[in-house]
Symmetry: C2
Subunit: 400 residues, 2 copies
Amino acid sequence: MKILILGMDGYIGWSLALRQLRLGNEVCGVDNFSRRKAVEEMGSWSAVPILPMQKRLEILKKEHGGKVSFHEGDLVDQKFTDDVIKTFKPDTIVHLAEQPSAPYSMIDQNHAVYTQSNNVVGTLNVLYSQKNHVPRAHLIKLGTMGEYGYGNDIDITEGFMEIEFRGKKTVIPYPRMAGSWYHWSKVHDSNNIMFACKLWNLTSTDIMQGIVYGTRIREMEDEPKMTRFDFDEVFGTVINRYCSQAVIGHPLTVYGQGGQTRGFLALEDSIQCITILINNPPDPGEYRVVNQFDEQYRVSELADRVKRIGDKKGLGVEIKRVENPRLEKEEHYYKADHEHLKKLGFKPTRHIDDEINIMLDDLAVFKERIQAKKDSIIKIVRWNDGLKQSMASPAVSYKT
Amino acid sequence: MKILILGMDGYIGWSLALRQLRLGNEVCGVDNFSRRKAVEEMGSWSAVPILPMQKRLEILKKEHGGKVSFHEGDLVDQKFTDDVIKTFKPDTIVHLAEQPSAPYSMIDQNHAVYTQSNNVVGTLNVLYSQKNHVPRAHLIKLGTMGEYGYGNDIDITEGFMEIEFRGKKTVIPYPRMAGSWYHWSKVHDSNNIMFACKLWNLTSTDIMQGIVYGTRIREMEDEPKMTRFDFDEVFGTVINRYCSQAVIGHPLTVYGQGGQTRGFLALEDSIQCITILINNPPDPGEYRVVNQFDEQYRVSELADRVKRIGDKKGLGVEIKRVENPRLEKEEHYYKADHEHLKKLGFKPTRHIDDEINIMLDDLAVFKERIQAKKDSIIKIVRWNDGLKQSMASPAVSYKT
């Protein structure tokens, strides 16, 4: 199968490329390296050192020969996107190539506009190229559980729900109540993709993914094959950040009460899920939504787990509650369906405690790299007034 | 009161400026003249000749002196938008300055991307400037009833609805199921505005407006004060197009079965509604949605009305069913609440038949102008494959 991975240089993109190549698929990757640039803009870097793409490709080509290719470019560049899709003619497009950070989108006006414009325009361009050149391909788009929001009083369904209103039954899209400009950009994308499927009979799976954690998947036995790992406040996600903090003796920073409940998933299982989706496309013309996570946890409970496991390793982990920079409920009802992937065969393979254990060991090796960019751990973006220090424009321009 | 009218050169913007000045308010207008350029791009012009803005302003200044001002510029230009709002410090911002045509957004990829990027970025810039300089101002944003879509099996509420799901009650945003890239751009805006109100405690009214028709409001006694009137397939709305077709002896072009039901509103009553909203802002920090229309009609019924009234004037009106270029149901359930404005005092003042009567007389004066651009009446954009003739980029660039 021919798989186009948009955002192949990223945390999930690189992991997915390794997996798909091992499975014998042909992989074409695309990236504009915006993640590397934006993390640098935040004064940080990946805890795990990653090679430049050219070197990464050399490693892959040694093993997989002509089955891997790569194009540097930006999806907001219509001609670039169109040329790649027209030439490669993928069976599956996995679209991971978006500005992926909520705090980054809340830094200031420039970052908000960049995030929405970049994500919406990039996805529109992919949809048009899919329609024009590979109308029977399967578009797998990475969204987030955050599209639904976390203040709902009712259960969260998978994309759609049946309701009765004024005596009549109907099916509606599950209401989206996102909590940042970034999360809303994903909602805008979801709406555009749903419309494109209806308009042009395209086929798509929209993944509402939980928060991914972990340093590795099984294909990463050698260090040069490892994927990036962000620990800064802006691009690091919560478990990854806690583990990095634990390793350098920094208190784990829990926002407010810590009752924020989210769905989580190990990197290994995220890659398993995406692989299942690649192998099980929906019916032609269907817009399918899946909720992709394993277990739900409160963030304070995650800090407790990292502390317990870290303390066993002699790390002497402290937990510190800090003022919550976000606009979110710190205690709330949360119950989200996640049956679609299970029905397709998803079986979680990683237990969170085992994974935290591995992460702490992996990160211990790169302790000095985390220490060197320690300031980026507390570079807090406040939802109501952005980042206090003055910021230039985003590292990557949204001009086309 | 100080009222900023974004899009003051447009059909509603110009009318609203005349009304607010007559009521003694101070008006500052903004426009980038994109509507004039885009209608020209479609090979058409306003049936009613309109003066350049400088001349329009001279007329207003003669009557209202320093109470009116104007700035030419584009809302996607962050500095421009910020300067205008910082300097004028409006009490109310009426935001009408968007790409307003569904068919225009469906022409091709460039026009789709332009529409979404222009509308979303312009509105984001307005929200940031409001927050930074006039956080207690009231933002009135023009959306459309089309955001809800027309294929719903259930009644349409005003923005939000209470539902019971799995035994629990909650209030959710009414699901949006738009039918063009343009309509989705308005949904994206609505979502962003709802979030901004929550995030920064801003105050906003989001108008889900029906389709507006009519050539004039009472302030337009002299021709130079009349507002633009589009009759081409892309920018002309349905009643306005039918009346223009009737005047030049062109058959009224009804799409498919003509059972498409929509809410409608005379221009005079649209201006009445916006004035009511200006004078009755919601509570500080509230995001209010109003459904702004008078009556619901099927489009075939509208064609019959125009024929009946036109025939009395000896126009010999024909009706022709044409293949529907849009992706929409031609027969469907439609029942939309519209109580909020009535509760605030809205009383429709125009009957549709009287208004059609006036329109046909007004347009008879400009018959030759319509005749001269007759080709633009059948410049049909098909939803599934755009405009057949090759198109350049949009008349107005979306680059910033």
